[in-house]
Every structure is written in structure tokens, then in C-alpha cells.
Subunit: 254 residues, 8 copies
């Protein structure tokens, strides 16, 4: 017979949560956005021993991958990005020089790999501001997605980190906040019309540190620097996440 | 340099999708709902060679697991259900005679295992009716979640299956539809107030075939038969999914 | 050089509308709903000399045809219903014993044929009640769709007719109003779960006069009598519309 | 007795859709908007052998024609535009030097003629971006209207074409996207207050190629160049659609 | 016994409406807004023989008068504006050098007087644009409020007039449209913070012809020229309406 | 120069409001609804010396009259109801044995007459309950329409009266509240489908005291007793209001 | 100079919350609703040494007191209830045999007194179910108000208690849940129309244990047993809260 | 037996409200916002004999304090601000050099103290404009929150005061209105990203008179001058409210 005691269930959940919260108030890297580039970036950082916290607004990770292209549930990956997915155990099928993957399998496998490599993914958490001190980013200011969506007026908490990554996709939310709240000269270009090939390559160039301790990767990188849009091809996203991890590791030299 | 051609990307996605659709018009089992019990049920069926299609309304799988208990991101599992999660690679921590798991890791690992064992998970798909023929369920009537949510008036398509599983949770949507559309005597009790221990055990008893070719598992089982509610303890859910798979395999005797 | 005078444009539109309205206050038949069965029914009646007014709530005719099946833009027709579409000039393609048609071409062609055969289609008009006198339907009570949708509280106007047809589809709006407003014993069964073949054949049986001077056709017929649902196969719809026209002509014996 | 098999219905619809999609990934001309000018433009192009795809956001074609003027269901046409409608079989009535037409008959007949002349009309499809390569438009980036309206975050697909036509009416959506996403100097004037006669004539002058491979016709042309508004007179719209087709044919010289 | 025939009721309403519409396609003055200044302006014009049409967006006239001050149902009038209300039969009570009036009686009496003096008030009609020809206003472009509020995309009709009056209150809608649609240099200042006494006197100075054939009165006048806000004192409103009528009569010299 | 002092304006409005409120806490008759029957009923009662308070939910009086029939701005009156409107100064035009009136003039004139005859009309006030004592209605429980519409949870106030009249139209709100809150046997029939002539005559029969001290008039009378609907003919409404006043005067015998 | 460290602020808040949560998983009494009766009941219980947790859905306590009567910010109290408020330090003014109090001061003072007497008020917490075991209430099932309002699908937590009090006002939410989820015979009468005096006295009679370990007080008591409504007089509410505390203390005999 | 008479209850509430309103039309100081700084500022002013009116948009006071940090119901205070809370009777707990307080107790105690010291708190009142005369603020223009939220178009009333305080938090509503309505050069900086320590100290510097007779305190001060954000530490808020009171007293020198 199964055992279940309401008070113990409540207690065990509360205790686990508070331990987790307390152990994540200060981390090496906060990645904002658990989409393709954020998960990839987080996985490589965690694997190399960096304390990495991935914050995602929605309850589920995966970002814009789930619906594939226009609701047709597949995404396309070009070499050499297939290697990143293969490391995660994603089944790929070769077609016309590209690789195709199931749009539901991909986020599941990327997340599992990131978790197994040591990254902590916390969902339902909104980054509504940054900690900025003497022109350096020092962490993020967070709130609950439920509170934001409910329209309640409640103060945030803060998490310190050595580096913050904006992996929020097309909207580049973190860079946006930084600019708007601090009147920076930094210009947010916005992504340009679709040119898949050019966009994929620009993505890698645009993956960089845009402000002391603030990096961008994934579509946020092209949105910040005015790169082209690519559509349902995701190779550049994974490579950008990986490159971002490498740049951060170089900077932090653990 | 990365290669990317818009026409090829579009073609590859369309082709993959149509092949997938055509190969899933007739299956052995359709499971409605990709939450804890649906994913578990699907995994055991697929592993044993049954062609299994898991349909989920939302774009992401996982159901009500993501938010843990009241937003505290952990869930509780009692023995012997921990074994099911351990088979999937979920990291469990023992506390006060229970196991605690990260509410984000659990759905990711369950889904990966189900996929690797051969189940097909299709998200963004709504089951709006059943195929019922001479008092037997013969399949499901589906539409796109985007269409439903957009409020567009568009006809559905149909998928044939030998068995359908209602794993839609508290609302027991599939059983609800069956009763409402066919004026059945079958009574939908609705779940009762919380009594965690009793609810967990009732769950297993209530996991059964409720109408020719229609099975219920997970919270839908307690909702149909008036079992008690349990809260953020999930052991019964996984065991119910597993038991449901066993009952179906017995019936279909592949 | 093109000529255009604002006052004349306004005058010409007002005058044309006025004439149309006055000439349609009393008609032989009002058909409610310009979907597949309503358009077909109207076309046969008008062709045989009956003054026929088709009222449609939305601005466009076509009902649920536009989106095909689940947004895949094709519909299926079984013989002998293909003949009705061929008379309208719809291009059909034979596949596996059925006919397939473009879900955009079909409503366009059906409407053109109905108009050319003499039916008047008036869109953006809501039927919010019936004229009922001594247990006989004598016409419809109409309002503007814009007024209804805007939530304004404005009185309706009325149109007299010898016969009213409920071709409003799944909801059987007209029969619903009749029952609700007049406390009739008449039972509204609601359509049953999908059984395409049975549903198609029931549709023809259920096409009939349900109350003195009130006929049902199309899905409204199955909704009233509890017939089965069919999905994206439309043959029964066209045949139902045609049969309904025949029954009315028999009754009215022009 | 009517035959209907759920699996075959589903299969036939999926197969037809797949063939249609694959055969429309690359076309000569994509026209955005199936209103008066888009349908007219598409009809002339298709008739002359150009592979033409008309994309419409809503499920029904017809744009702003359905409601006539202020809901009075008639529209006005001035010579010589009446000839275009007469070719389509629209019944016109002469009044005070103008022609009046039923606002429901017009879109039906225009669409039927375009379809019969070979144009493909695909509805429920949103153009959310363009393919732009080295300062030339090379196609459109599309998504499902249901997805857009449901507010789901799903990546688009792309269609290549030699030419794109913005026939989206007052909002000139395509030109708008081009400018906003590519920071063009091109100025979007917006239509000016009503001056029916001047507006009708400006419409024809403004119908042109506004950017390499991007043409505008209908109200979008006046919106782009700041022409005057005309109200419920549509002659200029049909003539603009026709002129646009002629300019494109001259450019593409099939 | 009372007599009532549905067809005759419908016919009589349609006939009366079309006669009214046709006789109002061309008028001397169109006043936009049936609030305090619009009704007063219309009354004086009509009394002096000018064909005057007052158009009001809402179904009821009265504008912002109904709720008095902050929902306390009284308004204040200072001399000599009391004479205008006394001419209309409004009961006034003297208090501390001012007059107080019932906020429900005032709009009723103003409207009755305007109607009895010959003005036509048409409610539920939205002015969405102007007819502008060679830098002169020549009339208004109207639509139904129901259509606007329902969000339907339907073309407008037009009414010609020698003069148009913007009496739309704080938003100065008509002047706004004129500026936005015609890129005028005319600056819309917006009303300033409250200074009741100054605002009341500025109101009269600001009542004038702001563009050939376009006059402003009431709060629209202060909104256009940046006058101060006054609150629940209405004397200036009635005097502004009267002055506006005098300026128009001087210009039109009937 | 005009004088205006903010403090005095505020003070004068507050004082007038509080005097009005205090003098209306106890009245002879409360009429709920300022539509055609409520205004007529109130006018006759006030004229005969009964302290009469008319409460209206919306800010403007007039109920469903403003929009005429389907937005065509005229209403129809049959003899002898024309006399009631003529007493109020409404201009009537004879057509086909009926009288036609402007749908904007009618509410304005009815309200002015009721006010001049001594009735107090208070708008923006919702009746959310009744005072019921020993099976007798003793008054109404009111709240502000703004509070109701804003969804705020605020307690009501109460007004005592010897008689309450439900003149709320189709919904018969007051009778509805009485039944729902007190589990009465009284049956609310709901109005029946349209039969204009029968409905007009039933209206007068149904105008009566339905519960000790609670009367119904206008469409509420037909809604309570299941009378027929009439459409845009209003003669019965005015006669019902007048009859209701006569019945109340007989009961109260001032 | 002020000191402030983000990490410490976050840590201190988390730790305090964790301790509070853990110490409130099991309490003597859970009171649902922090309105007038809930706060009064909680204060007396806490003062007498019972561990008392008051849960409130909204972020602020006070329930329906804030807006006074119809937005006029005062409430009325009859003797002897004034003593309860005087104990809390509320300033009362005698008028016509009653006491009047400021509708903002009252909730503030009641809450302060309850807190100072030892009750814990937790706001933003929703009770969505009860723990029911062998026909006895054993606690409450809670969730976050933000989660409920955001419409997120997240499991609840549970709190054990010896007694639960339904002080949720007019809707009697807790009793409602108990009945609906457990198919009890218990009948929820709903409050009756206003009869202030009778209602006040019934309130005290209806304050009782309605199901093993579940008590009702305040308006919930009248809603459960069909007592009369009272309006903006609150004496009965405070007395009911006090009586409820006394009944509970008698039962629990600490 | 409890006594309760509906008419007397209504009368007593109306009379109390009337007296309160009339005695608050002219005051020394109007404070806009009843959050932490507004309540503190009001308390010190009232205590020193200044007639002080605190206006709050919501029905409850407390502003953003209720939810603590991210819904964890505690706030942090640094010395020496603890003294202000201790004066109000708030229980503080020392932790890591800071003080922690219950986020529900704090607003309750602050409000009680402000009320007991003589401040009048009026909730549900919106400040929608200012009285500005010759470049000096002379009072506020108010409306009902219910009216604003209901979207009703109703004129405001006005309250005169020698000084107005903007204590509206992050949005600095009052300063915003002043600038927007009067085209001032005054620049509204908006708060900067989080730097808790710097923000706390800037808050005190930024607390000042920003325009003749208009002061800012609390977060509004940092929003106006571009100070940094602090999160859930509130010491600066209370000190700012106190400093603001001191500056005003110095200016007004009662």
C-alpha cells in the first residue's frame, strides 16, 4: 500500500525549495531563457564546473522550438551543429544535405543533457531588471511569472552572478532592460528580414559580450546587432550557445 | 561557413511532417495527455512494440508537473514509484521516507525515455471528439490547438486506434466528451477533497477500461470514479500509467 | 480619367439598399446560414422560382468549409454528391474512391451558382428570434451582426416567409431559439460522436420539417436528431441541402 | 448508401495538402491579400501563365468588400472598370452614371474567375516577413493565421518568388514590414483624407514597383504614396490590380 | 385592441430611415458630437434656418454631462450662461453666485430644444475621416458605431457640408484626423492642467475656424489651442457653442 | 469675464447631491429602469403628486429606444398610444395606419416631460437587491453602476418605498432578483417568440402587481408572464407604463 | 549612510519565509477570509492561546469593508458590537442610536489587534480544497492567488488544522467546495433579500459548526443557512466572529 | 436583540460622508499614494498639526508592501529606519545586520499610526490632474477609482491644498501629469537598474520640492531623478517620507 502524509509532503517540498533557493542566490552565470541557445550555453558551462542557473519565464523550457516550422513539428539543422545535438542523444535524419529533428524531442534532450551536466533550470521566473554597479552587470532582479501575469504589484528579489547571458530570443529582453533603464548609447538594432544563410553566419559573429559581464547568444544576438532572420533552421543557435559558453569561460578562467 | 537555403528548409520540414502524419493515421494506442501518467503509459507500451501516439494540447509536454507544489519547484514520490523514475534517469533525494525530485527534470526525463522507447509525442493537438462505432471507441477526432485557441470554426481530422487512453488529468476530457456526446449512463463522479493516502491507492484501482477500448489513468481515473485528490505527490500517477499499459497489453495481446 | 462624386456614391448605395430591403420583407423561404447545405438548398429553390433569401451572420458565406480539415485546405466528397459540385463548376480530383476539392474554391463556386440561379444572399445579419403565430413559423426576427457583436441593446426588425430553414450547422441556432422561447417539447439531441459513414446517411433522413414551416438541413439536422458527426467529408451536406429544397417545393407547390 | 471511411478521408486530405504545399514553395508571384485588387491582379497573371499564389490572412477572401458602404450591401464602380467585373460575370446596374453591384456577389465572382484562370488562393496564411537578399525581395515568410491569433510562439516557413505584391489595403502590411525590418529610407506616407475622384486616379499612378521585386496595388498603393481615400467606390481598385499584373508581366517577360 | 403587423412595422421604419438618409447627404453644417457645446451650436444654427446635422458616436446624446462631477449628479453654470439653459427650460438653483442644474435634466432639455428648433440629431454614427478638397473641408466620412465597436472592416459613406464643427470634447477627434491624415502643420496642443476661471474664458477665445470650413467649440477648442481644463463647470461650453454658431452664420450668410 | 472657483464648484455640487440623496431615502414609488414604460409610468405618478424616483443603471435614460429597429433610427407607435407621445410634444408622422417617430427625440421628450411633472431620474444606479419584509417588498438595495462595472466588492445602500416597479425590460431584473434571493414559487416565464399584435395586447394584461408592492410594466411584464415579443413597435410600452401608474395610484390612494 | 546588500536582503527574506511556512504547516485553526468576522474570530482565538492562521485570497485584508456603503466611506455598527471595535481602538461616533466608523480605519485596526494578539495573517493565498478524512475536515489545500489569477496549472500544498472556519462572506467558498467535491446532502441556501434587522440577528444563530471541524461565521453563515442580507451595518459580523471563536474554544478546550 | 433600520443606516452613512467631504475640500497637504512613504509623510505632518489628506487609488492602503519580495511575505529595513517602524508598533526581528518585518503587519501599523496622529486616508480616489495657477500647484483634480476603472466618461471634482506630495511610487504619476499637461521642461528620468545601497541613499537626496508646491518622496523621487532601484528593502522609503514631511513643515511654517 502506498504511503502519503499531507504534512510531510508539504514540508519536504518547502525544505527542498528553500535549500535550492538559498544555494542559488549567488552563482557564476545566470542565463536568461531556456531555449535552444540558452540550454546549450548552460550545458557547456556547467560541464566545465561553472555554477550555472538558467531562468525561464514560462513553466516549460524549449522556447520557440516546440512548434517546429509553422506548426509542422520538425526543425532543420545544418552541419556541423548536428554534433551538438548528437551529443545530447537527439535522433537526426539526413535530408538534402541537412538534418531534420523532431521538434518535441529536441528541447527534451537538450534540457536533460544540461541538467545531467549540472546546470540548474528554474522555470516560471521572470527577469525584470539587472543589478548594475559602476557600469558593470552584477546579477539579475527576478520575480515570479505568475505574479507578472496576474498583474500584481509585488517587489522582486535579486540574484548575484559574475556574468549574465541574454538568451531570450527575438526580443533580447535583457539588453532591452539594460538600455531602457540606464539610458545607454548601446543601440538595439532589431533583427532584419529573412536571409537564412547570412543570418546563420552573422549569429556566430554577434555572439559576444555586449556590456561588461553581459553576453548575448541565439536570436538575441542577431536582434541586438541587426543580423538577418533565419526561420526554422537551428544550427546557428546551438553553435552560438556553445561559443557563448567558451567566451564566458575564457573571461572567468575558473 | 554554415549553409542554409530557405526553399530546402521548407521542403524538408513539410516532407518530414507529411510522412509522420501519414504513418500515424492508424495506430495501436492513442494516449491523450502528455503528463506524468500519459508519458509513463506511453513509454511501456512503445517499449513492448505497440505503435503508440501521445497527443498533447499544449506545445510542451509535462502537464501539471512543472510548477511543483504551489510554485515551489519540487515534487514528492513514494516507494515503489521511485523505481519508475530511476529507470528514466531522474535524480531522487530521500527525505523523511519519501523521494523528492526537481519539477523540471522529471517531465524532461520521462519524455526522453518515452521517445527513446519508441513512443511518438505530438504536441499542439486537441482531441475534440472520439470515433465511436457500435458502442466501441475506434479512435480520436483531432484539431490543432492553435485553431481551437484562435476560435476559428474549422473541421477536424480523425485518427484510428485500437485503444484510446484518457490521461488528461483532473478534467477527464475524453470521458467527458464520450458521455456528453453519446448520452451514456456512465457517471463522471469528479475527484473528491484531498486525502492523499487514500487517493494514491484509489488511483490504482480506478485505472481501468471504462468503456470498450477506452482506458483511464492518472488523475482522470480518480476524477471518473470519485477518488480523492492527492496534491503534489506523484507516485500513484506513474504507477497508474504503468498499470494502464499492462492492462492494454493484456487486451491487445500483440 | 475616372469620375467619382462622394454624394452620388452615397446616394446610389442607399437607394440600392433600400430597394433590396423593401423587396425582401416578404419572401417564400428564408434560409438561415450560408454554409454548404444552406447555399445548396437556396440554389435549388431559387432556380425553381421560389423567392429565396439566405441570411448569414458573418460577413462572408461558406461556414466551416474554408479551413478544410484541421487547416489542411481540402475537403472530401463522396459520390453521388460530386454531381452537385460539378454543376457549380468545382474542379474535383478523384482519390481512393472519393473526390477532393479545394476548400476555398468550393464556397466561392456554390455561392456564385446560388446567386446566378436567383437566390439573394445577405450577410452580416443575425436571426435572433422567429415570428411564431398559432404554432406556425411565419418568418424571422433579424438584427445586424455588428450590433450583436458590439453588444448594443437595439430592437430587431422582422421578415415574413412561408418557410424558414435552419442551416446553421452544429449549433442548430434556429431550432434552439424556437424551443427556448416557446417551451416546446421538441428535444434538441445534439450531434453524437464521429461515425462518418453512419452520420452521412443519417443526415439525409434527418433533413425534414421539424415544426410547422421550419425545416432543418446540414449539420443542424444531425444536431437536432442526435445523428453522428462526420468530419471533413461534405457529400451528405450538399445532398441534404438539395433534399431540403425538394421537401419545401413539395410543400409550397408553387 | 453513402460511403465514408475516416482513415481514407484523413489520408486524402493530407496527401492533397502536401502536394499543394510542395508545388507552391517556389512560384513566380506571391500576392499578399485576396481583396479586390489582389484577386484581379492574380487573375490576369495566372491567365497569362504565371504561377501565382494569393495569400490571405483571413479564412475568407474578399477583404473589405463584403460590408459594402457602412453596412449597406452595395458597392459602386465607375467606367471603364465595369468591364473587369463583367468579364467575371458580375451583374451590374447602371445608376446616375455609375454601376452598382451586390457586395456579396463581387468577391465570389472575382475569386471564381481567378481560380478558373489558374491562380491558387491560400487562406488563413499570414505573411510576417520577407526574404530579402542583397536589396532584393526574394519571397515571403509565412505563418498560420491560427498560430498568430492564438498568440503562440512558433517559427515561420518561407516561400520563394520572383515578385511579391502588397495588396493588403489601407495598412500596406508588406511594405511596412520591409521598411521596419530593414531600416529603409522608403517613406510610408499613409492615405490622406477622402477625395474620391482624385484618389481613384492617384491609385493608378501609385501602382508600381516600390522596391526591387516588390509591387503595390489597391489601397496599399495610396497608403504608401499618400494618395487620397475614396470610400465605397471600387473601380480604381480593379484597374490597379490589372495594371499591377501588366507591370509584373513586363518585368518577368515569361 | 391594439393593431400591429410585422411587415408594416419593418416597412415603415425602413422607408422613414431612407428618406431621412437621402435628405441628409448634403447639409449646411455637420456638427460632430452631441455634448453640451454641440447641441447648443446646433440649436442656434437650426433656429436660423441652416440645415444642421448633429452626429454622435454613442447611442445617446449628452457627452460627459450625465455623471455630473465625480458621479455626484449636478453641474455648475456661471452667469451669463444660465440664460442659454433657461431658454431651454432647465430648472436652475442659485448657490454661492453660481447656478446648479440636474445632470440628467440638462442633456434632455438641450436636445429637445435643438430638435424643436430644427436640428437633426443622428446617434450611433462615427466620423472616421473628412472630405478634404484643395485644402478645404467639404464634409465628413462616416461609419456606424456598431461596426467600429465590433471591429469589422467595412468601408464608410460620405456626407457633404459647407462647414464641419468639431465638438467632440477633450479628444478633438476631428481636428486630430485632419492633422494625422493630411500631415498639416496645425499643432494640437492638448488641454492644460485645471485652472477653472482661466479655462472658461480661454474657451471663448479658442472657439474659431481652425482650417477652411472647420470650426471647433467646447472642450475641443481648448484641447486644440492648449487652454486650461475647467472641471464640472459648464457655462463656457454653452457660450462656446453659441459663439460657434454665430461665427458660422457670419461665414455662410444664409 | 466668466467667474469660476474650483472650491466653490466642488462645494456646490457636493451640497446639492447630499440634499438630493437625503430627500430620496424614503419615497412613495421607486421605478427601476428609465426606458419607455418606466419614464411614462413615472411621469403619471409624479404628476399626481406621488414622490417618484426613477433609477437607471446606465448614465443615459432611454433604454432600447435609441437605436430604433436594427439601427434604422425610427420607431413605430399604434393608436391610441400616439396620444401619450403627443402630450410630451413628440412629432409623429402617420404612415400606413401607424405613427413613426424619431428614435432620438422620443426618449428626450419622455424624460423632459417626466422631469417637468416632478419625477426624479437618477442614472448610474444599479438595483442589486430588494428590501423584503414579511413577504412584502419595502424598497430597493442600490449600488453605483461604476462600482458594479469595475468589479469592486463594496456594500450597497438602501432606499425605502411603498411600491417598487420593475421596468427593466426583457430581463425583468427586479423580479428575477426577488425570485432567486427568496426561493419564491413565482415563475419567470421569459418572453416568447415574436407575434407583434398578440404581444402588444398581452402587455397590457400582464401589467400588474406580481408580489405585494412589486409591479411590472413594459417588456418586463411580458417576460414575467411569457407574453410574445413585439419588435420595434412601442405603443404597448407607453400604455403599459400609464396603466401601471393607474394601478399604483389606486393602491396607494394618496 | 544607509547599508544595503542585495544578496543579504534576498537571503533574509527567504529565511524568514521558510521559518514561517514550516511553523504553520500544522495549526489549531485555519480561518479562511480576513474580512470583519474572520479577523475578529482570529483575534479572540489567538488571544486565548490557539495557534491561528488567517488565510486571505487578496493581498490586502479587510474584505468588503473598504468601500463603506456604495463608496461612501463609512460603515454603521449597532450596540453592543461597538465594544469589539473599541477594544481595537477604532474611533466611533454616535448618530441616531448607531455608531459610525471610518471604513479605512476599521480594517486597519482589526488587523493590528489580531496580529498583536498573536494571529498570523497570510495574504495572497487561495484555499482551493479541504483535507477531508472519514467525514471530518482535517485542514485546507492552498495555492497562490497569483497562480490562480494567472491561470497556471500548478498543484497545491496542504495545511493541517483541527478546525477550519469559513469566513469568506457572501460566497461561502469553503462550504461550497466541501459540498461540491464530496456530494454532501448539506444544502447551501444562499442569502435572502435585505431585511437588516432580521439578518443581523440570524447571523448569530447561523454561526456554528456545519460539518465536523468546519465552522461558518460572518456573511458566509447567512449564505449557508439562507439568512437575510443586511447591507452596510457590521455589528452582527463582529459578534459572529467572536461567537465563532467561543464555539471553537469550547470544542478544542485547549 | 440587535437593532437595524435600513433608512437610518443609509442616512447616517450619507451624512458622515457629506461632512467628511466638505471638511476636506481645502487642506494644507494632499499626499497622493498611501504606500510606505506616503503614510509615513502623512503621519508626521498630521502629528504636527497640518491638515493632511492622503488619497489612494486602490481600496486598500499599503502600495507594494503586501507581497513582500517576490511573494515571500517579508520586507527588510536597515537602521536607522527601524525606529520609524518601532514608533508604529511594528515587531522587528534582527537578522544579519538588518531588520525583517511581516509584510502584512507593516502597512496595517503604518496606517493605524497615521490615522491616530490625525491624517485622513481616503481610498478609491484617483488624482487625474492638478490645479496649476501661474506656475504653482494649488491642489488636485480627483475622480472615483470605480469610474476610472469602469471606463465611464465623467467630469472630476477638485481639492485645494497648499502643497501636493507625489508618493505614487515607480510611476511618479503626479509629476508625470504635471509635465504632460503643461509641457514643462522638467525631465522625468525614470528609475535606473538595481543598486540597492546607492538607491537607498539617493532616495533621500531626491526627496524634495520639484515644482512650486509639489514634493516627491518614496520611489517617485528616484523615478523623477533617475535614482537606482532597491528591491524589497524599505528603510529609505520611510526616511524619505519623514524627510518630505520635514521639508513641507519648513515651507509652510504653521
Amino acid at each position: 500500500m502506498l504511503k502519503a502524509d499531507e504534512v510531510k509532503i508539504t514540508k519536504v517540498i518547502l525544505k527542498s525549495s528553500f535549500e535550492m533557493w538559498l544555494s542559488n542566490i549567488e552563482v557564476d552565470v545566470v542565463i536568461v531563457g531556456a531555449g535552444p541557445s540558452g540550454l546549450t550555453c548552460g550545458r557547456y558551462l556547467a560541464k566545465n564546473g561553472y555554477k550555472t542557473l538558467i531562468l525561464e519565464r514560462h513553466l516549460a523550457f524549449g522556447g520557440g522550438t516546440w512548434g517546429g516550422g509553422m506548426g509542422f513539428p520538425y526543425i532543420v539543422i545544418e552541419p556541423p551543429a548536428n554534433e551538438i545535438l548528437e551529443e545530447c542523444g537527439v535522433k537526426l535524419k539526413e535530408m538534402e544535405g541537412y538534418y531534420v529533428a523532431d521538434s518535441v524531442e529536441v528541447p527534451a534532450k537538450l534540457a536533460c543533457k544540461a541538467i545531467d551536466d549540472g546546470a540548474k533550470i528554474l522555470t516560471g521566473v521572470v527577469v525584470e531588471d539587472l543589478i548594475v554597479r559602476d557600469h558593470e552587470v552584477n546579477g539579475v532582479v527576478i520575480n515570479s511569472y505568475a505574479i507578472e501575469r496576474a498583474g500584481l504589484h509585488i517587489d522582486p528579489l535579486a540574484i548575484k552572478s559574475k556574468v549574465v547571458v541574454d538568451a531570450t530570443g527575438h526580443e533580447a529582453n535583457v539588453v532591452n532592460i539594460l538600455i531602457r533603464k540606464n539610458k545607454l548609447k548601446l543601440n538595439l538594432e532589431g533583427e532584419r528580414s529573412m536571409w537564412a544563410e547570412k543570418g546563420e553566419n552573422e549569429l556566430l559573429e554577434n555572439t559576444k559580450e555586449v556590456y561588461p559581464n553581459l553576453f548575448v547568444c541565439g536570436m538575441a544576438a542577431n536582434a541586438v546587432f541587426g543580423g538577418h532572420r533565419m526561420g526554422a533552421i537551428f544550427g546557428g543557435m546551438y553553435l552560438s550557445g556553445k561559443k557563448c559558453a567558451e567566451l564566458i569561460m575564457e573571461k572567468l578562467k575558473l
